[in-house]
Amino acid sequence: MSRQMTGARMVVQALKDQGVDVVFGYPGGAVLPIYDEIFQQNDIRHILVRHEQGAVHMAEGYARSTGKPGVALVTSGPGATNAVTGLTDALMDSIPIVVLTGQVPTFMIGTDGFQEADTVGITRPCTKHNWLVKDTETLAQTLHQAFHVATKGRPGPVLIDIPKDVQFATGTYQGPREAKQSRYQPKVKGDIDAITKLVEMMEKAERPVFYTGGGVINSGPAASQLLRELADATGIPVTSTLMGLGAYPASGKNWIGMLGMHGLYEANLAMHGCDLMINLGARFDDRITGRLADFSPRSKKAHVDIDPSSINKVIHVDVPIVGDVGHVLEDLLKVWKARGRKVNKEGLAKWWGLIDQWKAKNCLSYKPSQKTIKPQYALERLEALTRGRDRYITTEVGQHQMWAAQFLHFDAPNRWMTSGGLGTMGYGLPASIGVQIAHPDALVINVAGEASWLMNMQEMGTAMQFRAPVKQFILNNERLGMVRQWQQLLHGERYSSSWSESLPDFVKLAEAFGAKGAKVENPKDMDDAIMAMIEYDGPYILDVMVEKHENCFPMIPSGKPHNEMLLGDASTEGAIQSGGAVLV
């Protein structure tokens, strides 16, 4: 039913009609009419953040853990500019979020008005699409279109900039069904000839590998299910990018671990040595490929991606398949079954023999210590003590993030929220709150470094206000650990500005927010500290004092191929040429 209402009411109505139950936001002059409408209803919950960047990361955490679009609402000018990092993060990691920004009234646009910024101009390169709505009559249509664009095809962030007079004016509201059908309809079915060709290659391949990415998770739970079925039926090993962890279970028999710069030895060597690489929803990121000229030199490559621009962007592939991973996997399985479920058994047996040899290298081993807590040990204990629980993990960015990816195991999709593409320090705390709001009874843990954590620590206030019992597991080495590691390996051990001085007392900090905090320094106290954290009914900071100079291995130095991985401190001397220092 079309109805007359104000623009502000339309915003709230459209959110309801799109099934939104929570909005993360911060009010300001240019969004007051919308806040007034939010106040007068009870269907949509508003989570008041402490900084707009936090709102966007919370929306991301919500989206990644539910598969539904996350929504953030911020004011004009600084509210919008503070949202830019979160928008870019969501664009890089293909996370569907809808950000609504207030804008000065249409008649003031261009006059450098108070809290005016060219929001659509600023956010054009960091959104999938954005709109400035100048007429209330087009607002409802634009809102529905925004949800459509954010979630269809390769998901991503969208932004709608709504001037204040458009919020006040009255117009006609249309529901999602009455709204004009969007022209934006990306192709989801893959080309069946290409799929058949891939099946033929799979049947013959001696050393095949599935290289899976965030696309499997974005495609929905069905895609993860199909991947499990296909991998288990064919016996083909599965590795995953950072973004794809959980799509195939870490406890699955074909799992060979994460690949990439800090990926597992067996996973990277499998990528290097395979004769058929099947990329499912990953994008040959530079953290994955290492030196392009030597990337998997002897393999035929197939690439399934919903975004045509991902195909042949950095790596030329032999079998490109544009489509949604779930749809393609369904057809792939069908064709493979119809052709008699063939695999190269002999080849695969030899291949697994090789992989098992690489696994025996035990690349994640580290020197244990009785005196100091090794970060790897802390995570091993966290894994052991939380396994089997309804657990969600977020991270900040740096060494702790890579260790978390290595030492925590994910058996289901949507359980692992991390900033992969953009590498946003300060992502984890707000993301953990977004996850907790979506899953109030789950155990939500943010594995953090002390430096990253401080970047958005104000959101502890949000966690307290909305009773989000998020656990902040801070691996505190009083260093910017990854920066320090690179300076050690690439910059002659000149530790320029990479230690954290004047750190707060995290226990007192927790208490200052009204939360609970504890500090643990001795390995023998680790288990008790973790249990106390899990059992506490409220936000909690566990300050884990870890070894200060531990390096994260394995490591493929910048500019090196997969088979020139560093496995430990002993192997690092002279391993990195000066050329590698110019790469990031």
Partner: protein, 186 residues
């Protein structure tokens, strides 16, 4: 060079795409991008080129279908075959983009550009400029006792050639529209 003297990268002489996808040789391509005529669409296209480090040699844009709200952007760009493919894919995924056509590889096409030249001078030079303009089928659209403004339509190469000839004859100013292009036939 092959005996047929087919320019590398050209496919207009063959039913097959002859381009080597791994070639490191930069090619010039003319792309026609049909877009929804919504605010900011040109900024999106230009921002894509600058943000990803692609070249724009020439760019023209105007609404071509008022009722359908469609504009046509003709962009001439340079890059290796893989970069050109990437440019097309990146353009194609912009939400307001309907179609992307690579007129350079999709078959024969016509390209035209309009240019205005102001040539100042007197005496022999002035007469020579007028004579050359006639040969090039340029029209005089403004004249004073000291100057002409010529209008000319043609391929970019023809316009370049005319500009070169006018330079010693007192070329004072040039305005060019950039290339507009259409595929030949139906």
């Amino acid at each position: 060079m092959s005996a047929l003297n087919i320019k590398k990268g050209s496919s207009s002489h063959s039913a097959y795409d002859l381009r080597d996808p791994h070639s490191e040789i930069a090619e010039t391509h003319t792309l026609a991008v049909l877009v929804e005529n919504e605010p900011g669409v040109l900024a999106r296209v230009i921002g894509l080129f600058s943000g990803r480090g692609y070249n724009i040699d020439s760019l023209t844009v105007a609404e071509v279908d008022h009722t359908g709200h469609r504009s046509r952007i003709t962009v001439v760009t340079r890059g290796t075959p893989s970069v050109i493919e990437q440019i097309k894919a990146q353009l194609g995924r912009l939400v307001p983009v309907y179609e992307v056509h690579d007129l350079t590889v999709e078959g024969p096409s016509v390209e035209r550009e309009l240019a205005l030249f102001k040539v100042a001078g007197t005496g022999e030079k002035r007469i020579e400029a007028l004579r050359l303009a006639e040969i090039f089928r340029a029209n005089v659209v403004d004249s004073t006792l000291q100057s002409f403004v010529f209008e000319m339509t043609g391929t970019p190469a023809k316009i370049d050639a005319f500009a070169e000839l006018m330079r010693p004859l007192g070329l004072a100013d040039v305005a060019r529209t950039g290339v507009a292009a259409l595929a030949r036939g139906v």
